[in-house]
Amino acid sequence: MKTKTGVRGGIGQSVRRVDGVPKVKGEFEYASDLRRDGMLWGETVRSPHPHARIKAIDIRAALESPGVRAVLLAGDVPGKKTYGLDAQDQPVLAWDVVRFAGEPVALVAAEQPEQAKQAATKIVVDYEVLSPVTEMEAALQADAPKLHPQGNVVRQLRVIHGDPEAEAEVWVEGTYETGMQDQAPLGPEAGLAVPAEDGGVDLYIATQWLHADLEQIAPCLNLPPEKVRLNLSGVGGAFGAREDVSMQIHACMLALRTQRPVKIAYGRQESFYGHVHRHPSRIWMRHGATRDGKLINVQAKLLVDGGAYTSTSPAVIGNATTFAAGPYAVPNARLEGTAVFTNNPPCGAMRGFGAVQACFAYEAQMDKLARAVNLHPIEVRLKNALKTGDVLPTGQRVTGAAPVRDLLSRCAALPMPPAESPLDRDRMLIPGGAGNVGHGEALTRGVGFAAGYKNLAYSEGFDDSSEAWVRLSVDQEGPLAEVKTAAVDVGQGLDTIVTQVVRTELGVQRVLVRQPDTAIGSAGSSSASRQTMMTGGAVQLACQAVRDEVLRRAGTSIIPDPLDEYLRPPIEATRVFRHRRTGKLDADGQGDPHVSFAFGAARAVVEVDTELGLVRVVQLAVSQDVGRALNPQSVRGQIEGGSAQGLGLALMEEIELKDGKIRNASFTDYLLPTILDMPPVVSDLVEEPEPGLPYGAKGVGEPSTVVVPAAIVAALRAATGRELPRAPVKPDELVGIR
């Protein structure tokens, strides 16, 4: 699709971000920057106990506290008492029982933020502390306390493929674990709720899916959907943390009660308590292969900790289980996945969504297999690589692009970092370098590979869609295209992609992207690497409808130049894009659950100070299957950022729980990689257009996060000879203490 001659910045070009200028000037308004005259500040009271019965709540002192305008409890929730994504089991405010440390119990609104905090401390909750269930296996015991009426299993599924008892000549086995990672978007949760004259409420919010929020908020407020209007404010990153409702219902409740605007803004600590985290996992796997390394049988048991409430655990374990055999052709498999409830903080969406945990396990297994059959890690993967036409363990045939062999070969061939003498280099560049630790002979280099894949968009029959409105008009400067969707740009650059699509489809330079809100139909979630596909697709359809009308008015079959005279009156169109239908899994995990896949391969080069167990990642190289790069610079940006989050999981990021309580809810102790910890990332884009997706473009946000943790730990194993079955890896393990 060629852009009309003279129109710059269509698809395929590295167009500058349309919101870049306000962001570098500090003028871009994020949710935490929102302000309204007469606004009150909301504060949330949270349970300090991971498991307790609420016997009584005394709010009298809080009500009398200076500046307080409202104190609300569960009994004040106007409508439905619970909300949630895959199940509505999460209380807006807890009553009777609290199930995790940090669960909201009460709300306060006051004139000043400090007054709200003071009042919150005066709310006295009489808890009967109960014993928390904090271990996954304990939750599965028959005598474990039932955390929900249905018991402690959120979802259990199995995938039976071919003959699960099939014999093999070589077997390798292992049990692997990943810790609880946090999305830690820099922008903490914030929103502003403004009561409306019609008895409804307008909410200004940073979120990932306006309509999913609306669907949960309206019933809880006992309002019809048309009286709850959500407007997107600037989003300071998401990575899954904003998929679940956090303070939306709370702010609306306070606004409706006080009939004043109410702002709630979390600080960093509260943010850790206020959103879901990545599911910790324990995965047992057993791979059977021929003596030549050809996979015969993959057995897996996956266990993930869903925490206190359902959130999206069913979908996460569905993903982890259906992907558990990896991007390989496997004739026989038994894959069993279980997500459990515990009294740990709730887990849900984080970039990679179950595929990360599975990849960590299956790629460790592939390396074990490589050693067992004496093949290079790349060779054993090439030997088994999935390709278009292959059948997955779910029985789904891969019909789209699956250039796994290509990715592996290319990744392995990407330039290695120079093997310079450590004595020559700057002290900054050595493991722990900025602390003056390590340079010289104690350093060992290791190289590791990993391949993996992820579904694009939602799965198992989810009826997903996106709606777009496009308007073409003319003003004194010429033709102007306006586009509106409810799609959230979380920082990935969606608004820019949309602009590029409009330019390409309509041949118009000037494009204005309107602010998303719920006045237009749903665009679906900014997650699952789906927005370019879904909202790009909807915008494309709307543009095509507009273009058809232009051609009709002009009586031609090509877009006239100049356009101006045909744009009075303006032309508008609203269209909805849907992807092909998928299907649910049957009792044996058979079906057609995923729309499409994106594949990735990574190579990590690490240096280990073997005396101390400190690590420096020297280089990350990622080859990714992107279908078509609509904005190459943004695509690389996603790969680089996704790799950074992968490095975090591999080396330093973990929410530490003690008896269900978060020990490290701050950036002091939850360690995010700094610029001194991140290496250069070499990104390599493989463009094999995906049939059925707009422009053949695949989503790009997640695959690098899926493969990088496995690649880094593989490199550490190569450098140290240690088993390293768990991520994040600690220095103790690298020197063999643990």
């Binding site: 590295s14 500058r16 971000r17 919101d19 870049g20 200028v21 962001k23 570098v24 000037k25 500090g26 003028e27 871009f28 308004e29 994020y30 935490s32 920057d33 302000r35 400090e114 830690a184 978007p185 820099l186 922008g187 903490p188 600037g234 989003v235 300071g236 990153g237 998401a238 990575f239 600080g267 960093r268 700057d426 900054m428 560049l429 900025a434 979380v490 920082g491 990935q492 650059g493 610079q633 943004s634 690389r636 940006g637 680089e640 950022g641 996704g642 790799s643 950074a644 989050q645 701050s666 950036f667 002091t668 995010l672 700094t674 610029i675 001194l676 991140m678 250069p680 990332v681």
Partner: protein, 154 residues
């Protein structure tokens, strides 16, 4: 108390426990500096205090009395972006943008002190600024781009 903010003396009657960040954002409406962690652990509130690069969240508003503060809002020349700001946009160093004001200030500070830093020096100078979106790769590209443009202009 009074502080000179971006060249203008401004007064505020503030609660003594307020940080400079609170003063800038809430009292003076300068919301460019961000509040991502409030403990000096991310650099998103980086500003200049008497020409020194500091975290506004760690400075008591009272410590800024009678002193000069410059924020990200002072970096652009009216409508015209600085070379550093333009380089950030051009190099693709802005994704969600929450860390961006802090980086703009830190990079501007670095290049004013050292117009030709090598990669290691750049990383060290930016070691107090966290980004969650970019993996820092394009931020480094932006610094290289800005430095070369500024050297050309000299």
């Amino acid at each position: 108390m009074r502080t000179n903010v971006n060249g203008e003396w401004r007064e505020a009657d503030i609660w003594p426990g307020a940080s400079l960040l609170t003063l800038l954002r809430d009292a003076f409406g300068l919301t460019g500096s961000k509040n991502a962690c409030e403990q000096g652990e991310c650099g998103s509130c980086s500003v200049w205090l008497d020409g020194e690069l500091v975290c506004a969240c760690l400075v008591l508003a009272a410590q800024a009395h009678d002193r000069q503060v410059r924020t990200v809002e002072s970096v652009a020349d009216g409508q015209r972006m600085s070379a550093v700001q333009d380089a950030f946009v051009e190099a693709g160093a802005v994704q969600c943008g929450f860390c961006t004001p802090g980086f703009v200030v830190a990079v501007t500070h670095l290049l004013a002190q050292d117009p030709n830093p090598n990669e290691v020096q750049v990383r060290e100078a930016l070691s107090g600024n966290i980004c969650r979106c970019t993996g820092y790769a394009k931020i480094l590209d932006a610094v290289t781009l800005a430095a070369s443009r500024l050297r050309e202009d000299r």
